[in-house]
Amino acid sequence: MSLEHEVRAALRPKSPPAGFAEQVVARARWSAGGVRAPRPFHAWRAVAAALTMTAILGGWAAREAAQQRAEGERVRREVLTALRITSDKLRAAQQHVQQIGASDEYE
């Protein structure tokens, strides 16, 4: 009998142990669970997301309020300045009128 014939007979395919396919499928299911399954819901994630959103919105609102306060203060200062200028001019005009009145009395 030829060597090639004997080698072919020696290398005849053999079956793996019983339950081989089931074991592989179980491992595949397990690995798929880690890769393809939807991520489980975690309450702490929702709380963390809510806190982050609150912090962002709160910060934005505080910044807006501070800007509005600064704008109000600026407008108030401008109005006061305008009033002061007006008041000074009125006072000067009043003094000028009084001086004119006084000079008329002496004449």
């Binding site: 004997e6 080698v7 020696a10 290398l11 395919p13 793996p16 142990p17 592989v24 595949a28």
Partner: protein
């Protein structure tokens, strides 16, 4: 006949499609179709059942992750042969083989009662002792009954190199058998 062949091809293509969509029963069908080939390639390479089982499991898990890229039954078969061969060669490169434990030495099976079972066992031991590339090429040639032009596509070597490895392997086996006879 044509109808039967067409039905078989469509059926298998459907199995691949279902497996790709995550149907584990379909994937189990693919494993059952190819498990003997993959296990035997690794077993004849290492002459070690537990190592062969471990490699075969890893190959099928890799197949599971690669299903999206495989288009047909023939593609799956070629892929499995190629990946099993590569894994066997890689394992040899990574570590020198340990001695085969006694419990892993296969008992004589009923199918070997014809012919010379001792000669076949001796041949398996001698094949497991060949250089890794020769071992893989001999296994693909005589277990899978592939010709050198098919083997060269799996191992990524020129066809003449494959023929040369085969020739040298058979010469070595013949010489070693002569020495032990």
């Amino acid at each position: 006949m044509t109808a039967i062949v067409t039905e078989a091809v469509v059926g298998n293509a459907d199995v691949l499609g279902r497996a790709r969509e995550g149907d584990h029963d379909a994937f189990a069908e693919i494993i059952e179709e190819h498990q003997a080939m993959v296990f035997s390639l690794a077993y004849h390479f290492f002459h070690d059942r537990s190592r062969a089982e471990e490699i075969a499991q890893d190959v099928f898990l890799q197949l599971y992750r690669s299903l999206d890229g495989l288009q047909s039954r023939a593609h799956v078969l070629h892929w499995l042969r190629q990946v099993t061969g590569r894994r066997c060669i890689d394992q040899v490169r990574r570590a020198r083989l340990r001695e085969v434990p006694l419990e892993d030495v296969e008992p004589l099976s009923r199918e070997e009662s014809s012919g010379d079972p001792l000669l076949r066992r001796r041949l398996r031991e001698l094949i497991a002792g060949l250089p890794p590339k020769q071992r893989l090429i001999v296994t693909l040639r005589y277990q899978e009954d592939l010709d050198p032009s098919e083997i060269c596509r799996i191992v990524g070597l020129p066809v003449n190199t494959v023929k040369s490895h085969l020739h040298r392997a058979l010469r070595a086996l013949r010489r070693q058998l002569g020495e032990t006879a």
